[in-house]
Amino acid sequence: MTGIFKNRLFWPVVSLLTLVVVNTIARPQFIEITMRDGRLYGALIDILRNSAPLMLVALGMTIVIATRGIDLSVGAVMAVSGAVALTIIDGSGNPGSLGTVAVAVVVAVLVALVLGVWNGFLVAVLKIQPIIATLVLMLAGRGVALLITGGFITTVNSDPFSFIASGYVLLLPVAFFISVAAIAVMSLVERRTALGVLTEAVGINPEASRLAGVRSRGIIWSAYIVSGTLAGVAGIIYASNIKAADANAAGLFIELYAILAVVLGGTSLSGGKFSLAGTVIGVLIIQTLDSTILFLGVPSAQSPVFFAIVVVVVVVVQSSRVRGALSRASASLTRAKTDTDDREKAEVAR
């Protein structure tokens, strides 16, 4: 039994289940799934479908955070990727053709990959702090996206393209399958290659890893490439969903939600051990919470207040130092922190 409690995924799973149960009690139709025309419908299905862009971005963010980094540019990369795809489709003579859409999607994802290469270069080679390095693209990326669309919101009417976000296959939404594919590929790479454990090693102790012969530069670089590429796919799903490239709104604040999902899933922002499963649950928690807030009749614009409270609670609880500090007299709060710091250093020194 204790093993279950100690599992890193215990609290995320409990939170998610609690949300589902509370929702179900408040509105029994929440867990109802109906079938129409060979498609499943319902609040739960919506959550799975709508969570796809955040899922992809958060998976990439997990890897970046594992290397002690952060990628702020994911929202901007989404905007660029959507803009590229839509501009290609819009500019082609035949927006409805499968070939056009395929080319557009591939090019857009490749552009996103290049943007990931760029971020990785700044962080891994030039050794610029990740927050700052990715801030550049976060700022400039939307400008690039606007430039690609010529400053307008490009809209297209292309059935194959819309299919990506709104289509159904085997009873379930296509977007859900894209999420599942991304999760599967990443878990497979993590299990079948040594990338996962080497990434953790670099994130936990970069110097020990270097002395053990790990190529930390390449590993950090590839994390940003993965993050950029996944953000590119997320941008396509987003654009497909609204059938338009909106350079200003695409992926706005998604970096923040992605970081929140990673933290909710039990991966520490200080790098090292990561859990893809945890991130998946984190994303589902956020999406369910979002749906709950909507159900409560709170305008979605106000939902950030709830997320702010969640962020504060999570970071405060996650910090083990704070747990120690809280147990002491509140007057010695300041000291408690520096004290643990120094003691840890002392142990290291010995």
Partner: protein
Amino acid sequence: MTADTVVPPIVEMTGITIRFPGVLALDKVDFTLRPGEVHALMGENGAGKSTLIKALTGVYTIDEGTIVVDGRQQSFSTAGDAQAAGISTVYQEVNLCENLTVGENVMLGHEPRRGSVIDWRRTHAEARKHLVSLGLAIDPRSSLASHSIAIQQLVAISRAMVLEAKVLVLDEPTSSLDRGEVELLFRVVRDLRDRGVAILFVSHFLDQVYEIADRITVLRNGALVGEYPIAELPRDALVTKMIGRELEDLATLSSSAHREIDRSGAPVVKATGLGKRGILEPADLEVYPGEVVGLAGLLGSGRTELVRLLYGADRADEGEIELHGAPAKIHSPLHAIGRRISFSSENRREEGVVSDLTVAENIVLGMQARQGWARRLRRSEKDAVVTGWIEALGVRPANPNALVGNLSGGNQQKVLLARWLATAPELLVLDEPTRGIDVGAKADIQKKVSELSADGLSVIFISSELEEVLRLAQRIVVMRDRRKIGELESASTDLDGLIDYIANEGEGSAA
């Protein structure tokens, strides 16, 4: 200084005990400091010097014991408290702000003000006054970063003067200074001593201690060894007290020192003139198949620096390396591992284990890194390697899935040894593999080194424990003050001979 006996002490620390989780860092240590003396605090790494200083300067709170400063019992809880009581500290890594000017660093927090507005003219004038009183004619308006570390140390001392420190703690202030700079620092230290300031001096350079100190307190393994006037403690006696005699039960252990080494063929590794400016003077080193070469010398003598250059962990600016007689370049650790050289760092926690990973993951990390990320080691292969080494080295708990961070120091060290042996090296470099670990683990590691070298593995063995070096190594390279001072055959020397060599050899030329 015969006056010592009549001047009442300014600092009296009695029965100081500090515990860290799982470690007794200081065990009932007494320490006395008198006005107008330079008092050296000596001990090897982990002896408790830094801990004692941090107890005195308010960085650590003590678990037991009393600290009396200037006749008043004190319990400091911040660096600010200690400063208010007249104790200032200058650390090895200068604790000033490089982004500010010299004058600001001297006066920070004590600037003369009109109302609440800082009077910069008077601030700089006062800073200049304090700098000049230490013989420093530098512009207080110049940026601190534009000055050498030595000048920065003196600026830090000037700051202590602003605080009217009665006690000045100098924690390894000379480790990054050259001889001229040390001279400059010592002139200031003597001057302050003559003005009646009590100075606590920590350094691992024996020459400097004998040059400046009036008295010496020696610590070993967190306990007090004793306090001695400098004239009554010759160098070799000091070294013996710092290092200590080893436990008898270890003395009966395996020895490989007398094994004959065939040095007719090409050495496994031969370094010629390997050096790095400011880190290590060019040194030669060669290791033959099946040979154990000991590197002896005190902490900071350059023994770690030498092997780090050899391994590619730091980039050398000069020197050549030959492997099996063929010239080779080693740019990075990965490069070294590919050439079958392995290096286990002395800094187990920061540069050795990856604490949040499991025993198994730590053991295969080196192999996996060499193989590249794309090809993960097969599970069967990995399990065989892991269980094999856990058994061979007696890692406890023998659980491959335990987190390394939760293991004892000795078992962490065994995991590291396993990691490096798993890469099947031809040359294994072990830097302080037995420091701070229990006797049983120590014996296991020594035994393994002895066995492996008998089977043809070449080893470079670094240890502060000279008995260990004498017992395992056939040849001993002796280092002091960041240079190699000579080589000895183990068979032709004993512990006293080696201590004497470390303390005195080449002494005339070094001064």
